[in-house]
Symmetry: C2
Subunit: 189 residues, 2 copies
């Protein structure tokens, strides 16, 4: 149940079975149905999810109530409203399962315990933060320097399978355009 979670940790730091078991004893395992919400805006995030199976999207809702799908996350990825988890401020992101989903739930206590007591706890946190910084930095870079059409082609080359897993209007949203416009771009190509 926690195997892929353990492997993810082991790929980033050196640890031992005892540390891992103690960490896992502070975590839980949770299943979600399609369309379920893992978390919603308003309350301060108290957990980070590690997806062992399934797919979800991260949504931000603007001041006019329009939803923007800004991330997809699937197997073997950590996901949360990590900014507001760190800042201990009310969440702004909605996390919604797009497929039946299974996730390890790391609570704030588990994470704090890891930083305090695991030999390479801080290194683990550093690696995760670095990984997601790089991810976000790429997003920013691409948003500035690529047209929607280029972003679409980039996404196609990186995620050839995503079309089969999520509706196109979410992909359009992810690309920062409307579904109608995405349809147009696909035709033009």
């Amino acid at each position: 149940m926690f195997d892929s979670f353990k492997n993810a940790i082991l790929s980033l730091i050196q640890t031992d079975q005892q540390e891992l078991d103690q960490l896992i004893s502070l975590c839980s395992f949770q299943k979600f149905r399609k369309n379920d919400f893992l978390s919603q805006p308003g309350k301060v995030p108290q957990e980070v999810f590690f997806i062992s199976k399934g797919l979800l999207r991260v949504v931000v809702t603007d001041s006019k109530g329009v939803e923007h799908t800004i991330h997809f996350a699937s197997e073997n990825q950590f996901v949360a409203d990590y900014s507001n988890f760190l800042l201990q401020q009310p969440a702004m992101y909605t996390l919604q399962a797009l497929e039946p989903l299974e996730a390890v739930v790391m609570t704030r206590q588990a994470i704090d315990w890891g930083y305090q007591f695991m030999k390479e706890g801080d290194k683990f946190g550093r690696k995760v933060a670095e990984f997601y910084f790089v991810y976000q930095d790429n997003r920013v870079k691409n948003y500035y320097s690529r047209t929607p059409k280029e972003r679409y082609e980039l996404m196609e080359s990186i995620f050839p399978q995503i079309h089969n897993r999520v509706p196109q209007h979410m992909i359009a949203s992810y690309l920062g355009i409307t579904p109608v416009h995405l349809s147009r771009l696909k035709k033009e190509r």
Copy 2:
């Protein structure tokens, strides 16, 4: 010369004079004139800068040769092509001084030394990565959920002084619009 650098570290972790002095012995101090480049695309970044005085911009150049100003950084901030520093890949960012600038230069060796030998080295790296993750996450969030006009007003409220320090075409670029359009938005307001 290294005072603000020391304070920045002390605000994130606990350390002692000896650790700090050893770290600083691995760093250098460098001055740049206005318009000088701190780093340019192509070579693998080997340093992270800490700005003690002045202002710079971070630029990404797209496939058509168009420059996009994607960040400004000033006093008491760390700055680098951090993604490619971490990935050890050729830089994509240009760092250019917009004012006479003074910076502490942390080399890769200094940083690796810190992670290996400072008691809270990894924690420091974690805090920095977390800080910049939050910053980038905000950028992404705002880019998705705010119009250029809203981003302009947001920037005005956060950086009321930036107009006096950088030309408007760089601000327009930062907002993701053309200078002509920014001029229009300012008029409409």
